[in-house]
């Protein structure tokens, strides 16, 4: 057997000649393969696009070259690059991870669909009218992609296309989705990060509005970032091509946006889906979902989006009300401490009622801070914990068993405590929908959110009560 160096020299000598044969894509030195299995024989290997049964003697690779065996291997070699159209390259796409989640940033599902990963834009923070929890608004075709979606599909920010990692960059999970004649929308829960009712490069959202022809508008999306345009069409019926999986869908009553070519050649491009479009007053008029190569864009009217997804837009107004509340009266922490005090320490009914009525009064005073424009559920939520409920129902015999009924244990104490803890948990969860997470770091992952923590709290309360009885 010849030495490897000799085989390489022979290969280099014959290489040019071999490349002149039809269909040859490469020549190298390596192990010879027989029936798909590697042998120990080193050979001069000739790669061809396609092996053919009948090859003329002239075009045939010789079985041996100067005593060195040859091997013909079927292989076409491609460069390992992805070819993209120049216009599709989004050099300036925002692929950042945001520690505070807000509108106008990259988002996408963690799961791969048919071997592909997808990206779009998180339009803005909204409020789920069902749970009152904050949610992330984007498109159906961004969060669900096709009909293989499920409630609970994880979302990551930035999207996987933008180097987001499943788990590490998880920001919530799919909650609801709609693909109707009016709306291409979806919402995800928010978890693990605080949120802000603003849009990057645009600022605070001030509510919603309807579209007026020729009105100037703007948006902030993951791909083209901040762009300006004009309402160019209303009452649009359009057929939108969603590709092979969803096909062509028809939408009615849509809004067309032409780019303001003085500031940007295109209003949107691929990857901007899910952005919200706002008017000059920062009021949202629609949810961006479709467009063409020229940057002409279509949006779902925001009123359809809110109705069909059963959500409300998160505005700074609501947050500032709560912030005023916090600033003026020491905030929720103080309130929480008082509630905990009631929970664990107070066994005197008079004192208890005094604290309760004080809390009630304080909240009542703060109703003055609530604007008429704030979504109604805010007042609902502030009222709810203080509607006179459980605290007034406490049996004196339970509160002062050692005094009035010595030796009597309370068979209902555990139930009462469970109910009380559950009420408090509900109250905290409900109120948290309206308070920026930066204002409630001790509550967003709070002690009352998990069953084991609730049990611990209950044990502590039991012990405190037992101590006070002793």
């Amino acid at each position: 057997m010849k030495k490897l160096e000799e085989i390489i020299k022979e290969k280099e000598a014959i290489e040019a000649k071999l490349f002149k044969l039809k269909g040859v894509t490469g020549v190298d030195v390596g192990y010879k393969y027989v029936n798909g299995k590697r042998t120990d024989e080193i050979a001069i290997r000739v790669h061809v696009k396609k092996k053919k049964a009948n090859v003329s003697e002239k075009e045939k690779v010789p079985a041996e070259i100067n005593g060195i065996e040859t091997d013909v291997i079927e292989m076409e070699i491609h460069p390992q690059v992805i070819a993209l159209k120049l216009e599709e390259i989004s050099v300036f796409a925002d692929t950042n991870t945001y520690s505070t989640v807000k509108g106008g940033i990259s988002i996408g599902p963690e799961r791969a669909i048919g071997g592909y990963i997808y990206t779009g834009t998180l339009g803005c923070i909204a409020k789920d009218n069902g749970s009152n929890n904050p949610v992330l608004l984007s498109n159906f075709h961004v969060m669900c992609v096709d009909n293989s979606w499920s409630v609970g599909d994880y979302m990551c920010q930035p999207s996987r296309v933008d180097s987001g990692s499943p788990g590490t960059d998880r920001v919530g999970s799919l909650s609801r989705a709609v693909l109707s004649n009016h709306v291409d929308g979806a919402i995800s829960t928010l978890s693990g990060r605080p949120s802000d009712c603003s849009i990057v490069d645009i600022g605070d959202v001030k509510g919603t509005a309807s579209a007026t022809l020729n009105a100037p508008v703007r948006k902030r999306g993951r791909t083209t970032l901040y762009t300006e345009g004009f309402v160019d069409a209303i009452n649009a019926t359009i057929n939108v091509n969603y590709g092979s999986t969803l096909g062509v869908k028809t939408f009615t009553n849509q809004i067309g946006i032409r780019p303001n070519t003085g500031t940007n050649p295109k209003f949107s491009q691929k990857g901007d889906s899910g952005s919200v479009v706002v008017d000059e007053d920062n009021k949202i008029i629609g949810l961006l979902f479709a467009g063409n190569d020229d940057g002409y864009t279509y949006i779902n009217p925001i009123n359809y989006v809110l109705n069909e997804l059963n959500i409300s837009i998160c505005t700074k107004l609501a947050k500032s009300v709560i912030k005023d509340f916090a600033d003026n009266k020491g905030g929720r922490k103080d309130f929480k401490e008082k509630v905990e005090k009631v929970e664990s320490k107070e066994i005197n009914k008079d004192k208890l009622e005094k604290i309760e009525s004080k809390e009630f009064k304080e909240i009542g005073e703060h109703k003055n801070f609530i604007s008429d424009k704030v979504d109604k559920p805010i007042t609902d939520k502030l009222d709810k914990p203080f509607d006179g409920g459980k605290l007034r129902e406490i049996n004196p015999g339970i509160l002062n068993p050692g005094i009035k009924n010595p030796g009597i244990t309370n068979p209902g104490i555990n139930n009462y405590l469970e109910q009380r803890v559950a009420d408090l948990e509900n109250m905290m969860n409900s109120m948290s929908a309206f308070i920026g997470q930066e204002l409630r770091p001790d509550l967003s992952s709070g002690a009352l959110n998990r069953e084991d923590d609730i049990n611990k709290a209950q044990e502590k309360m039991n012990k405190d009560i037992a101590d006070s009885m002793g």
């Binding site: 989004s90 997808y118 990206t119 779009g120 498109n139 075709h141 961004v142 992609v145 296309v161 291409d184 022809l213 020729n214 791909t223 004009f230 160019d232 069409a233 209303i234 009452n235 649009a236 019926t237 359009i238 057929n239 939108v240 091509n241 969603y242 590709g243 849509q254 067309g256 949107s268 491009q269 691929k270 990857g271 901007d272 889906s273 899910g274 961006l288 979902f289 479709a290 467009g291 063409n292 020229d294 002409y296 864009t297 279509y298």
Partner: protein
């Protein structure tokens, strides 16, 4: 009837004629631009998926009840990546 209401009425009439056409990709109301500035005058715009489609191809007039009808080649796709 004002200009906008009339345009809506024309849109509905034209839509029923064109929405089954093979070239149809959309229909909308838009303002008429003069020197790239939008005016208060509106027209109905029929969107088609092919260049050089004519009013005759779509079986529609160029104007109806004083509302101009234009044809624009535009294919619309979802904007995710």
């Amino acid at each position: 009837m004002n200009n906008s209401e009339k345009a809506n009425q024309v849109l509905e009439e034209i839509k029923s004629k064109v929405e089954k056409n093979e070239f149809f990709s959309g229909i909308e109301i838009t303002s008429i631009n003069k020197k790239e500035v939008g005016t208060e005058d509106v027209c109905v715009r029929v969107l088609v998926n092919k260049k050089d489609v004519t009013h005759a191809d779509m079986g529609i007039p160029k104007e109806k009840d004083g509302i101009p009808i234009e044809i624009v080649n535009r294919t619309i796709e979802a904007q995710s990546q």
